[in-house]
Symmetry: C2
Amino acid sequence: MRFSKMYAKTLKETPKDAEVISHQLMLRSGMIKKLASGVYTYLPLGYKALKKVEKITREEMDRAGSQELFMPVLQPAELWKETGRWDAMGPEMMRLKDRHDRDFILGPTHEEVITDIIRNDISSYKSLPLSLYQIQTKFRDERRPRFGLMRGREFLMKDAYSFHANDESLDEEFENMKAAYTRVFERCGLKFRSVEADSGAIGGSGSQEFHVLAESGEDEIIYCNTCGYAANLEKAESVVKEEIVETKEELAEVELKDTPNVAKIDDVCEYFGIPASKTVKAITYMDTLSLKVYMVLQRGDYEINEVKLKNLVDETDLVMLSDADLVAHNLIKGYMGPYNVELGDIILVADESVTKMINHTAGGNKVDTHYVNVNYGRDYTAHIVGDVRSVRAGEGCPRCNEGELESARGIEAGHVFKLGKKYSESMGATYLDENGKTNIMTMGCYGIGVSRTMAAAIEQNNDENGIIWPMSIAPYLVDVIPANIKDADQLGLAEKLYAELNDKNIDTVIDDRKERPGFKFKDADLIGFPIKLIVGRGAKDGLVEVKIRKTNEAFEVKAEEVISFIEELIAKG
Amino acid sequence: MRFSKMYAKTLKETPKDAEVISHQLMLRSGMIKKLASGVYTYLPLGYKALKKVEKITREEMDRAGSQELFMPVLQPAELWKETGRWDAMGPEMMRLKDRHDRDFILGPTHEEVITDIIRNDISSYKSLPLSLYQIQTKFRDERRPRFGLMRGREFLMKDAYSFHANDESLDEEFENMKAAYTRVFERCGLKFRSVEADSGAIGGSGSQEFHVLAESGEDEIIYCNTCGYAANLEKAESVVKEEIVETKEELAEVELKDTPNVAKIDDVCEYFGIPASKTVKAITYMDTLSLKVYMVLQRGDYEINEVKLKNLVDETDLVMLSDADLVAHNLIKGYMGPYNVELGDIILVADESVTKMINHTAGGNKVDTHYVNVNYGRDYTAHIVGDVRSVRAGEGCPRCNEGELESARGIEAGHVFKLGKKYSESMGATYLDENGKTNIMTMGCYGIGVSRTMAAAIEQNNDENGIIWPMSIAPYLVDVIPANIKDADQLGLAEKLYAELNDKNIDTVIDDRKERPGFKFKDADLIGFPIKLIVGRGAKDGLVEVKIRKTNEAFEVKAEEVISFIEELIAKG
């Protein structure tokens, strides 16, 4: 591709509304263009990278024995009513009516459609197991689309679905898919971790996420520095090695203390001269569907994990109470506590840690007051007790009991999940077994965010000059730059090498624009070509320069050897 | 691929609601599955064929210098309001609102989006010409979706758009695209014709359709048996060599005749003993938007071409008057005519041929009556006179004036079109020329129905047993069939040849199912594998049979030579 003809409109300035680096760099390098909030066009350079991620994904899914199909974007409402998701899905699902006033949705996922196909086509155990996948555009009307391709409203997903006669077969496919996903992210040249994730009712190893590691990642993941244990923060457990609580302390009498303007945990600690581990904080939530209100108690130095909380109280959409809601419930912001409180309908929830504390401080339920020497059991009890604590780096590994947990930031790019019979049961996807008996199929589902993986690759690989594409997904691998386009030697040699690289099927650009070399280098670094092949003054002596984007290494190479030199660089990845 | 694992649910019976052969065969061979009216899933076999058409299209567009991008399905209403198409598009355009109540559409085409991109990114003549394409799902809410993939509501298109500084540049790209399209359809192994099509205001060679020839085609195309002239029926012109009208006949007096139960042209001819060329028929239309009513006069042996009529009267949505509408306008069905008629607001339109007739018959405007010896000019005149006649095979070529026109049926699979400044003007896509002056860009657009081409390939290539895929787009090229799977020699040789074909990257299936050979042959013919490689009793002597689906030829070949034999067959195409 000739740069002079290439659709690549690079920008010097960072667009204002781009918050994360991948979004900024993709806009600046002319890879994507916003059409509407959360809706982007992939311009030629961006689409080439996207297609490479797509191709790697397709090859590894094929290799894993999954068969590709292509399901529609438009899905009739009837199928979603069968599974109950027509009502359960909120405004994130995009809905429309056709000219005959029939309800349709734009597929955010395809469990209903694939299960409908399978229940019609498959009837015997002989056809199982079966794994099918597609690479298709998905739609999700995010409340606040942001971060460019990371959280858009229209995005590219690989979604796979497997059907089985029994759990052992599902377990096998689950492992098969984990291996395929590992190959996908490895081939994309990314640093990643697979972590245990929350799987609701199924539990065990039924849900694993693949996170591309990047400091800008939205998610925190926890992993053991000794064994292979890794989980996302919602799912992570730990062993707290060093309990600060002194179990031998005698229970003291509760006292109400005046604490003027001492509302935050830090202030309470300072005021009383105690560690946060001797305080209890109370946070109130309401579920927007059930409308139940919960006061949740946590040890002052621990955080509440809202996913664990949702699972514990069996709610789906918890939000913190607003100031107005607090007033309506006679609760005093900053001074709430479990002792001497008028709960009314409020359900009191305590993290396990709270029940083990001795003589803790708690809000006085009046402005500017706190109780000291409060004790769970003696002074109050909660309606529900359980683990709602966020794990922290430095705590002990719950798996090997030896290692220490570390923490990293990640971008969720893949997810493998044992669905079980949720959809096959409600939609009647059954098969006849060896004995002619009707059984319900067991299912798995497996997703890779193709466009998100592309963005995550940039989040992980960039510097102040631009993108640093991994070789395998770079739109072009080599940028041939004749330093002085008016010099016939330089231009001639550059054109010759460009032709040779094309003959080797290496995706190559020649920067034939009438611009200064510095200008060209800037564009090359912004777009992120892994290799620059600079044909400068050395051309007359048969010498060229190879510069590696990632390491910034530069090599002077003989022109006749440079093609094989580049081939080796590419082979090394 | 092993047939035992392959997702290929073939049906013996033809599904009831499938009217055309491609639809029937794709359902029966398990290539597609209906999800909703006009909305289909591509099952693995069908998707493999579709991807091959897609790949050929992509390669030829790349070769033609067009750059691939990928625009969203969701398009904001604002862009369509700029061009006026938000109002102009009827219920065929699918519309929806997002969670913030903003209007969006599901792209039926992308002129607005691409023009928006270009007006923002391109400002100089130096960046022109520019050609961009995408292969993307389109949405069109057909009033009556039918014919399977031929006229669906969600379908795959390749659409390209070009931008130019002047008409000469557009002309060049137009020819470049025509050549690319020719290569696409040639490589797909299809018999096709490119024909001139109606291009509204632009005229000339500004619009060409590519039709895949098939007797079941919806469109009639006209071509000269001598020169290269070809046009669709709407656009076709002709020279009528032998005028039946005897221009020397004297004008006679108009007479009203009783013609009981003589309402049709054939009956009129029989009743009066005259040829149809001496009669005039009158047909009434109303435009559903302007609500104007037209009475159109045509020579009895000619047909009215509704596209020519629309262009002549400048209307967009003409429909024939219903019986009730006729009554409301005091018109008598079967006995309408231009003489002694109370037209009121009705606009009278005459085909040119009518104005040259002498002493013609026409409806009497009363039940069971006709006038004879009516003459245009003397007895009546029309408000509008023009060519609204459908050309017929057998007439003379208007281009070379020597050949005779022939007719064929086709399926429109491609269209190249000079858009001119329609979108660039309304949306302000301008550039600065060499002199720094602002000019409006000129545009072209170019479409290929990718899914429709796949269906058209089947319409053109099938027999009573099933599909006959062209080599280049067959989901698999070879079906290796061990005749007796329990015979170790046969199975062993079949597996060996299957592995060798895979090593050669030839898409191959081995039918390892425990079924009788006849059963396997039926499936193979239905799915349409171009080559069957049958490993039967000859296996023990090192002989196998190769059967060609298209010609039904069978060859006995030595096992060690069969791979190269098959390679030669494939190379021949």
